[in-house]
Subunit: 365 residues, 2 copies
């Protein structure tokens, strides 16, 4: 006998990138920053005393909210802290999407693009809410009728990843603003990789001199990538007071712990020091593009810390290259979705890791 | 304009116990262990390196699962680790309860007792699932038809807290077994306070020599109380393989962080050392009972680290005592639910904290 809801019984769970245990491996598959967290973060963790651990933490991570508000020039009430951005992405579905069954003719669901971050679809299945998929252009640009199509299906949430995953493409602010202004629901701008790009979309949610920011935009962030803190599980959202207040009611009561609150607050305050690693990654991203193109690979434009690439035609295919690299202890990401076939997504590593990748590619015949 | 679902819009959020910031206060209101975590836990946190934080943690907290399985004599596949037991309690609703609206004539909801831990009701509202409430006896015993009444309403989940909150009453194993065997859904046995009691309900879920444990029981635990780690946000569940596999599919992909995994694994392995603090709390609980009874208070039997008590009749009422104590910097818990009126719940503190409480009570006229 099964006790669970039928949508859960049928659920195909999200498959995270592999986390091989052998420590000599070169992991270019899950988009971590290759440099360690800044020393101030380690000190903040070490400074947490037993008596702090004994007591409940701030339910809202108030210290972090205030620090993030200062760094991003918004108000603390526009910030929500979560257990990774995973929690935040799940929470928006809980708060905005109707669990009406996954029939796409029902309103209340989510609008996504194809391709996009694969977790959204899994979370929609868990919420048992419909998912409307709109194909991107061949170069991963957004079609001009994206909002219209989401609106026509009654979507309550729309998801844009910027820089886009898994392509790395960067959407300009005016493109996102247009989607948000035309969309009837709440637009999630997932900026997991924005630390490696030149701009962000916070202008859309900031209080402007002439009034409020857009009421229906939530920008989501994570410390997993840019801040080298994937192990910490800390994400946050920045949006209108109204969105944050609604999310705040439905999150777990004490959703972030005292160690991660201390580390995250210090990390975001040390943003300028952390940014030195972003500069190094960006330099290596440019070099990786050159090295791959030199070898005949097509490389899509990327403002993130990874490159999406297509091996030279008529030679060894992406699946085989993925496996050959893995055999040599170098992990990259290979997707099996229809429209991602024969492509590899490679995280930008340290110069040494990247050199090892180029050498390994040269050995694959 | 509001974007959120109507059940969320109407939601009255869970109100956690007060966490006053003044450090000289004596906090006897949220049931933390008054003693700090054991030194081994602090060392485990200090041993986490930057390179660990940089990478994603084990998605399942595998090291913890294995340690908990050894300590509790179950299999690792019978354990799920969560971001506090809060996450686990929310997750069971997601997995088992139908979001059919909160109309109590619809099946698929939760069965609770009255009184019980107030979070269950909030989580049911978030899931938009019906809640069936069955009154406990005057001495907080379970009525013999508890399962029948939950079954009649089509409940998918039933919740028992043992030791019971907010009374502290301990239910014997045979009582819980009877509820589980008669109940058609999954029975959650919330053992948040079990470290201060003499027995637990794990026998119900353990593989027996003659076969499996009960398939429909999930025991939930937290490190917040007994292990002095409320700040860490770490909970776990122990149940049948089937229940754990279903929950595992629907949890956030990386729901516990590497620092809390390290600390929690060490804490549970150091159970014998931690238990010394439980012994001290139990001694003080007995002394607190004597001191309160000496002052004319009625004190309910308790196997937890708190006492539920009724002030002497015809004198100052609970609300006034609560406020007078707060004015003196001593926080206890005062409930305003109907059937909890004129009662105080007092966490057992250190001998010094408890002495301060008795002195303060003597000054209230």
């Amino acid at each position: 006998m099964s006790y669970e809801r039928s949508n859960i019984r049928k659920l195909a769970a999200y498959v995270p990138g592999e986390q091989p245990k052998v420590s000599k491996l070169i992991k270019l598959n899950t988009n971590e920053n290759p440099y360690p967290p800044v020393p101030a973060v380690m000190k903040a963790i070490a400074d947490v005393q037993g008596d702090h651990l004994r007591r409940y933490p701030s339910p809202t991570a108030q210290g972090f909210r205030e620090a993030a508000a200062r760094v991003h020039h918004v108000e603390p009430e526009q910030v929500i802290a979560t257990n990774g951005s995973d929690e935040l992405l799940r929470l928006v579905m809980t708060v905005y999407c109707e669990p009406s069954g996954m029939r796409t003719n029902q309103p209340g669901g989510i609008g996504v693009t194809n391709p996009t971050y694969s977790l959204y679809s899994v979370l929609a299945d868990i919420q048992d809410t419909p998912e409307i998929v709109v194909d991107l252009d061949d170069d991963y640009g957004m079609p001009s009728d994206l909002s219209d199509r989401w609106n026509a299906a009654g979507c309550k949430l729309g998801f844009i990843v910027n820089p886009h995953a898994p392509s790395g493409r960067f959407y300009e602010l005016h493109e996102i603003r247009k989607v948000a202004e035309k969309f009837d629901g709440v637009l999630i701008v997932d900026e997991a990789y924005v630390d490696f790009a030149e701009h962000d979309a916070l202008e859309l949610v900031r209080q402007q001199p002439d009034g409020l920011g857009l009421e229906n935009v939530l920008v989501t962030r994570t410390l997993s990538k840019g801040y080298s803190l994937a192990g910490l599980r800390f994400g946050y959202g920045i949006g209108s007071h109204k969105i944050i207040a609604a999310l705040d009611k439905a999150r777990d009561s004490y959703n972030t712990d005292i160690l991660s609150q201390a580390a995250a607050t210090t990390a975001i305050e040390a943003r300028d020091a952390v940014a030195e690693s972003w500069e190094k990654v960006i330099l290596e991203r440019d070099r990786m593009r050159d090295e791959l193109e030199k070898r005949g690979y097509k490389v899509f434009p990327s403002a993130a810390n990874f490159l999406l690439t297509v091996p030279p035609k008529g030679r060894v295919g992406a699946a085989k290259i993925y496996q050959s690299l893995a055999d040599k202890g170098i992990y990259v990401r290979y997707f099996t979705h229809d429209n991602m076939c024969d492509k590899l997504r490679i995280t930008v590593g340290t110069p040494e890791q990247n050199d090892a990748l180029y050498n390994a590619l040269d050995q694959i015949k």
